[in-house]
Amino acid sequence: MIKIEHLSKNFGTLNVLRDISVEIGEGEVVSIIGPSGTGKSTFLRCINLLDQPSGGSIRIRGVDILAPRTDIAKIRQKMNMVFQSFNLFSHLSVLENLTLAPVKLLGKSPEEARTKGLQLLKLVGLAEKYAFCPDELSGGQKQRVAIARCLAMEPEIILFDEPTSALDPTMISEVLSVIRRLARQGLTMLIVTHEMDFARDVSSRVLYMDEGVIYEQGRPREIFDSPKREKTRAFIRKQQSSFHHISSAVFDLYALNAEIEGFCSRLAVGLKSRQNLLLLVEEVLQLSIGSPSSFPLDLTVNYEEKTDMLELLCETPPGTMNPLQLEGEQAGIGLRIVTNILEKHEFQQSAEKNRLVLYLKKQ
């Protein structure tokens, strides 16, 4: 139904979307998740042509919507959008908000639009509020009116741009339950959301966006339970990271310790875990000094709030041997310490770099 190829969007020198290719089938409910500022909303706005893409193509049912002679207004009727900030007309009643566009743009009679509008208000649970002004409604009610208004245009595709971000926590569920109901009705929907449980429940597919690309996609279970790629994992597991570049074997251990302690302190990592982490860092670096060509070395401390897990990622140039496989008396003491404070470790070699991931035992 929607075919997007090599979509890009720049704002000046800033590449917000780099190279997005994805197909959305009819009736699919696709959630778009990812950190703030990674282009999720811009992606939706480009599909709806609220932002003009800088490159690539978007085809809706085979029609190239970026072609010069495309009727943008007609495209938007088929593909309506629900915004974070509702965008209701505050000087019109709830029902008038729903009937204005169908009368003006779809050529419906006022009576027909009114009947349909009342039906839709009933669908979103606000039938009795039809004569109210938007300002008399709560945030959740306003968003439900906005969804009903969107449906009044009988769209084939609905784009939701963080529909619950502007709402109080108590109002989020009423809006999500309306969207869930629409999903069950088979509408094609793209939803940018930070509500992970909702995305897991409602979606047929989840796109994880990062760095202006679709970094990983899959069924909700794949993305939420066993994400394959590092950044997806970090996002899903609410992982916080602290990155340290160590250019040579002569490094400032105390400055590094201070940075790691600061990171642990900010995240309220327990004292014992912190001590073991600092010990691990020193031991791994000492072992790396014993392994030729280990530098420059990139050290990343990852802390998973959800599971209270600390891990240390040590990336070295290709060809470096695993420091945990060093032999000899010099390495032996360090290895014994490391082995005892680790839960497990993984070593991966590739043509680009070697990765040693060390998981500290929980304290």
Binding site: Q275, L279, E282, Q286, I333, R336, I337, I341
Partner: protein, 112 residues
């Protein structure tokens, strides 16, 4: 790391405070070199104020103890506790050294 020494009867009590790590371990070794060249042979090392030890610290400890023993000297440890004790235990060092609960206890053993 701060190293303080005090002559107590038969031995020299060496109090080590702070950290024994890759940065400070050479300093520790150097200090013992000096003490050995000054004719000291019997040591009680008090770790009560030692906050952190890594394998670099343990290696320095091992290397100095070999030098002491080569001179027919004695080395006893006292007050190995907390995190330092844990590192001793997991690295097997508790079994290598004679570890005592207090400096007085260690001195008594040296005095024989």
């Amino acid at each position: 790391m701060i190293i303080q020494t005090m002559k107590e009867g038969a031995g020299l009590v060496v109090t080590v405070s702070g950290r024994m790590d890759a940065v400070t371990a050479p300093e520790y070794e150097q200090k013992f070199e000096e003490m050995l060249s000054n004719g000291e042979t019997d040591f009680v090392i008090d770790f009560e104020k030692l906050e952190y030890i890594s394998s670099a610290g343990l290696r320095a400890l091992l290397s100095t103890s070999k030098k002491i023993r080569n001179k027919n000297g004695k080395i006893h440890l006292a007050n190995v506790c907390g995190n330092v004790r844990e590192v001793f235990d997991i690295s097997g060092f508790t079994g290598i050294f004679q570890v005592h609960g207090s400096v007085a206890e260690a001195l008594a053993v040296i005095a024989g």
